[in-house]
């Protein structure tokens, strides 16, 4: 049965769409994780949902609503460029209000309930050729943006004070990463849905972070884990007709758990082999 399905055009489209979204999500995830922006990702995607629900009410393409919603929130959060707890609570407040508006839009919407379910949990097999083209274009914009911003973005993510002293424009970069994140989120919503965007943007990067301290390698591993989870999840959902999102989240979570176990066992070996602890600082 899977063999027959694999020959189908819609399956090819789904696999391509999944690949594009996974590459973009895995790549930006490394920066999102290093800047501690997980909660922001969640907020942006939920407000993408509000945008989509609003678009359904007024009868335009919900993808445009997603883009509008996540870009708007990304812009606001980026301009605020808050840090630490203040950012945490500000995002919480914006998120709750946005979801409330989304609930109103949904109650106003007279169409099919499946549209809403698809938004929340994804509908990768429903991706059309036109949508795939849009995914490629938007994904390309995000990747080019990340490539251009790579060094100063990375610098300011891990060491903002020194980066500022070297003339790196922190606020402009904050706005830029939030806008790119808005675009990425809008992409990922179409594959895994609003509630599961974190599984592609956060989990693979968090796993990669446990595997290596080499920035370039972490980026590659994060993309590889996102890609493997997405394509594997789509293929598994052909074999057994459970939701694709379930398989994708399960695979990426498995990678995360495996990475943590690897990290833990490596740390344990090091502790066992190096007692008493090495002194790197000579005492005079």
């Amino acid at each position: 049965m899977v063999g027959q399905l694999l020959a189908q055009h819609f399956v090819h489209t789904a696999l391509w769409a999944g690949a594009v979204v996974a590459i973009v999500s895995g790549a930006i995830g490394v920066f999102v994780v290093s800047r501690g922006m997980s909660f922001a990702v969640h907020a942006i995607s939920e407000l993408g949902f509000t945008g989509a629900a609003g678009a359904l009410v007024v009868g335009i393409d919900p993808v445009l609503g997603i883009l509008g919603g996540s870009l708007l929130v990304g812009l606001v959060l980026g301009l605020l460029s808050l840090r630490g707890r203040e950012r945490d609570s500000a995002i919480g407040a914006v998120l709750a209000f946005g979801l409330g508006v989304g609930v109103l839009f949904l109650s106003l919407y007279q169409g099919y309930a499946t549209e809403a379910t698809n938004l929340l949990f994804g509908s990768i097999v429903g991706v059309s050729d036109g949508q795939l083209r849009d995914l490629v274009v938007v994904g390309g914009i995000v990747l080019v943006g990340l490539a251009v911003l790579y060094r100063p973005l990375f610098f300011s993510s891990v060491d903002p004070e020194i980066a500022a002293a070297r003339g790196v424009p922190l606020r402009a970069l904050s706005v830029a990463i939030f806008l790119l994140l808005g675009l990425t989120t809008a992409e990922a919503i179409q594959v895994v849905g609003v509630l599961l965007v974190l599984t592609l943007v956060i989990t693979p990067a968090a796993a990669a972070q446990r595997l290596t301290a080499r920035p370039g390698l972490a980026l590659v591993l994060s993309v590889a884990i996102a890609l493997g989870s997405t394509e594997g999840g789509i293929l598994l959902s052909l074999e057994k007709s459970w939701p694709t999102s379930f398989f994708i989240t399960t695979l990426s979570f498995a990678a995360y758990v495996a990475a943590r176990i690897y990290d833990w066992s490596r740390g344990r070996q090091k502790r066992l082999s190096s007692s008493p602890p090495r002194r790197l600082w000579a005492v005079r």
Binding site: V30, S34, A147, V148, L149, Y150, R151, P152, F154, F155, V158, D159, E161, I162, A163, A164, A165, R166, G167, V168, A208, Q209, R210, T212, A213, R214, P215, A218, L280, W281, A282, V283, R284
Partner: protein
Amino acid sequence: MSVVTVDDLALRFGERTLFEGLGFELERGELLSVLGPNGTGKTSLIRILLGLLQPSAGRVVVEGCPPRERCHRIGYVPQQRIFDRDVVLRGRDLVRFGLDGHRWGFARLDGEATAQVDAALAEVGAAAYADAPVGRLSGGEQQRLRLAQALVADPVLILADEPLLSLDLAQQRAVVDLLDARRRRAGTPVVFVTHDINPVLHTVDRVLYLAPGSWAIGTPDEVLTSDTLSRLYDTDVDVLRVRGRVVVVGTPDDQHVHHVGEEHVH
């Protein structure tokens, strides 16, 4: 010719004047220590020298150019801020930031840059953990890497803002010795902000003392006296010399009694 010229500098936040009429020059190889209680503008002075803060009046010139224009590299060692344990960053990546972290695009695999990074790592004795995850290193090791980051681009000036905080005495001594060696070898002047003069007392050329509303600059023997500090604080302040250590008693805030009783091995 002096490397840094600070001329009639003033800094005010609203009604509050941190300092005014501040002026000094820094010669090649000179080590200036900036002392004083909290809230007198020590870190603000560093931020002005970095071009991150506009003074209310006066001007700063570093090698003939205002710092804001970034004509020259300025090495900056900040207050100790421990990295997250899981940060995706090796020691050599942190140092490499000091070379070209502010440029657009990806860093190229560049033999010359790698050699510069290796040289800076060797200079501060951090080669042994160059490839280790930064978040897993001790505070002292991280601070050595920050020093290498400040030195790697061959700066015309080094600014260090409380670089010894939360380091133990041996580590403090190592950081001070590294800065001292650098300025003697390469002639790079160093501005060293500290609340405790004693770790740098043996090597410092001049002291800039920022007190609330007034300041004084000169050699440690000129500035760190009962007379000068009493005048600065406008109250009776005693400066004691105890076994080669300076102890200040009686400042109104009394925040910086210099760790009386701590061991300090010379």
